[in-house]
């Protein structure tokens, strides 16, 4: 079980509305949530419950209508667009359902992109660093393959390596295994768990799969934009 230290992420009264006027709907209705260092939590809930929206808000990809986000102690509402981008790049990693690797680039280049975007240039040390990450996810042999030539599981491993490129505090994963067959899904999930244990990176994984959720430390359930249950879990 990952040890929960000081909060790396805290949400206070987060609301999010979509649409204008009559069509205005409140997707998140006041979410309070804290994630501690090294936690491995699952975010569950039916379709349309606001899981992805919440994940995007935590990931600073979307702005809440109301409420506060404290990321690693920093109130993100105080940051301008560029500062937010830089802060996001350095603190957060993302793993999406559809790996979302850039098809024009090779596996290793995809892993290098967050580093190069942060520095503003590419240098050879980034390649070494990215290679180490690919080794970590067991894909160093395919480093120079195009992202488009990788299988679903391989692509998702590369996406995991990419999410770790900046040594983030938190990795947010949106149904990272949703698109994979059961065996591959298990492997990818195990990899996430392993990284979490070895590096004390906090993970929040959105999933529909109870079987996978059972392997996390904490299960948070979101229904109609509200957290309805949040309890620790003893992974089997």
């Amino acid at each position: 079980m990952g040890e929960a230290g000081a909060d790396v992420l805290r949400l206070e009264g987060i609301t999010r509305d979509f649409g204008e006027g009559e069509a205005r709907t409140r997707v998140l209705r006041g979410v309070d949530l804290s994630l501690g260092r090294g936690e491995f939590a699952a975010l569950m809930g039916p379709s349309g419950s606001g899981k992805s929206t919440l994940l995007h808000i935590m990931g600073l990809l979307d702005k809440p209508t109301g409420g506060r986000i404290l990321l690693d102690g920093q109130d993100t509402g105080a940051l301008d667009d560029d500062a937010l981008t830089r802060y996001r790049g350095r603190t957060l990693g993302f793993v999406f359902q559809f790996h979302h690797l850039l098809p024009e680039f090779t596996a290793i280049e995809n892993v290098m992109i967050p580093m190069a975007a942060d520095k503003g240039r590419l240098d050879p040390s980034m390649r070494e660093c990215a290679m180490a990450l690919l080794e970590r996810v067991g894909l160093s042999a395919r480093a120079d393959n195009r992202a488009t030539t990788l299988s679903g599981g391989q692509a998702q491993r590369v996406a995991i390596a990419r999410s770790l490129a900046m040594n983030p505090k938190i990795v947010l994963a949106d149904e990272p295994t949703g698109n994979l067959d059961t065996q591959t899904a298990d492997e990818v999930f195990s990899l996430l768990r392993e990284v979490n244990r070895a590096q004390k990176v906090t993970f929040l994984v959105v999933t529909h799969d109870h079987r996978l959720a059972a392997r996390t430390d904490r299960i948070i359930e979101l229904v109609d934009g509200r957290i309805v249950s949040d309890h620790p879990n003893q992974p089997g």
Binding site: L61, D81, D82, T85, R88, G89, L102, I113, R121, A165
Partner: protein
């Protein structure tokens, strides 16, 4: 390598069809720019050079005499008749000549005494323009020395220099004698010391150069000069110089531009239409680049969202697309310069005089290439502006979710 360059170059390399389209458009645009400019400026330079091969830039003459009726209380002039003007000398021409020589922009000035005359040898008589000159300063105003077909450009005693057409009309060559006489009957026998070809049939048939002193005697203007011919360093400043001379000395001054009004109007409208074509071409290229990049931004929405999610700033995204436009402009200007200069050289090669000499050179100057490259790169960058802004404004959450 800069991050923006890395991404922009990769996008251009991977989006082969799109890159080929915009690159092709830019290349054609630059080629047209180079070809047209080289051709038109070469053509115009040759036309002007040909016109000026036998013509000074500014002609200074005595002011026209105006007939004025005498004021008288009991008589009303019912017609004012202009006095038929005989050949007149510029007053104090030596001082004026020396003074003109000091005006900034004047390269050289030479006095001439010109009038009508007949040239005859045996039974053949031709009407000619007698031009009494000082060969040394005249050669500085009009570049005649390299255009001598035989003999030399020098006048001593009673020597004359004639054109190729007159030489063949009269059947004379260097060393032969020709009789020159004015309509008033003053005349003398001259020895041909040289034959010129100034590239103009009329001039070759009519101009006869004699020493200034001989012309003064024949035209009955002892010690006088009818015109001062001036060469300036900026040929298109000639008109301004002519006005300046009129202002300073009260003399009549015509520039070559005034005497060749039609040529100048022709040149100007040629330049104007060539400019218009070029502006339209640049506009078409810009629209092409903008629309192709615009489509590519839409196609890449999701990837742009991912780049943003992984720490790429809005400014960087914008620079990536601006850079794509600039790179296409740069590459297009290199290819277009090659094709455009190839076309210009080939075209100049096709248009040949019967002698096999090119009719006109094409003006392929470094300035032209630099200018075309600057236009292409600027056009590419500006055309990429709107697509780049659109890309930069994409919200990562939306394009990742729905993309």
């Amino acid at each position: 390598m800069r991050f923006e360059w890395f991404i922009a170059i990769r996008y251009l390399r991977e989006g082969k069809a799109q890159t080929a389209l915009v690159l092709g458009g830019t290349t054609v645009g630059v080629a047209v720019l180079i070809f047209l400019t080289a051709l038109i400026s070469g053509l115009q330079r040759t036309l002007v050079a040909q016109t000026l091969s036998a013509q000074a830039h500014v002609f200074v003459k005595a002011p026209e005499r105006v007939a004025r009726p005498l004021p008288s209380p009991d008589r009303v002039a019912d017609r004012v008749e202009k006095v038929p003007d005989r050949v007149r000398s510029i007053e104090q021409w030596q001082q004026v000549l020396a003074s003109i020589g000091t005006i900034p922009g004047v390269v050289a000035a030479t006095p001439t005494a010109a009038g009508a005359a007949f040239a005859s040898r045996g039974p053949a008589t031709k009407s000619v323009t007698l031009r009494g000159i000082d060969p040394e300063s005249f050669a500085r105003v009009i570049d005649v020395v390299p255009k001598m077909r035989s003999g030399r450009f020098a006048l001593e005693g009673s020597e004359a220099i004639i054109g190729t057409v007159l030489a063949s009309d009269l059947g004379v060559g260097v060393g032969d004698k020709v009789r020159l006489a004015t309509p008033e009957g003053r005349g003398d026998v001259f020895t041909v010391s040289g034959v010129f070809d100034l590239g103009n049939k009329e001039v070759n048939a009519r101009w006869v150069f004699v020493p200034l002193r001989s012309a003064q005697t024949m035209l009955d203007i002892p010690g006088g000069a009818t015109t001062i011919e001036v060469k300036v360093d900026e040929i298109f400043e000639a008109e301004r110089m002519a006005r300046e001379i009129t202002r300073r000395y009260g003399l009549a001054a015509d520039s070559w531009m005034e005497l060749n009004r039609q040529l100048l109007v022709g040149l100007r409208s040629q330049s104007a239409s060539s400019w218009m074509i070029q502006v339209l071409v640049v506009l078409a290229v810009a629209l092409g680049i903008a629309s192709v990049l615009g489509v590519s931004v839409i196609q890449k929405s999701r990837e742009i969202g991912i780049l943003k999610a992984t720490g790429t700033s809005t400014g960087t995204i914008q620079r990536i697309f601006l850079l794509e436009g600039a790179l296409v402009g740069g590459a297009g200007s290199v290819l277009g310069a090659l094709i455009g200069s190839g076309m210009a050289v080939a075209f100049a090669g096709l248009a040949r005089a019967p002698t096999g000499d090119p009719l006109f050179p094409v003006d392929l100057t470094p300035g032209l290439y630099l200018g075309a490259a600057a236009v292409a790169i600027l056009t590419g960058t500006l055309a990429a502006w709107f697509p780049a802004r659109r890309a930069a404004r994409l919200e990562p959450a939306e394009v990742i979710r729905y993309g």
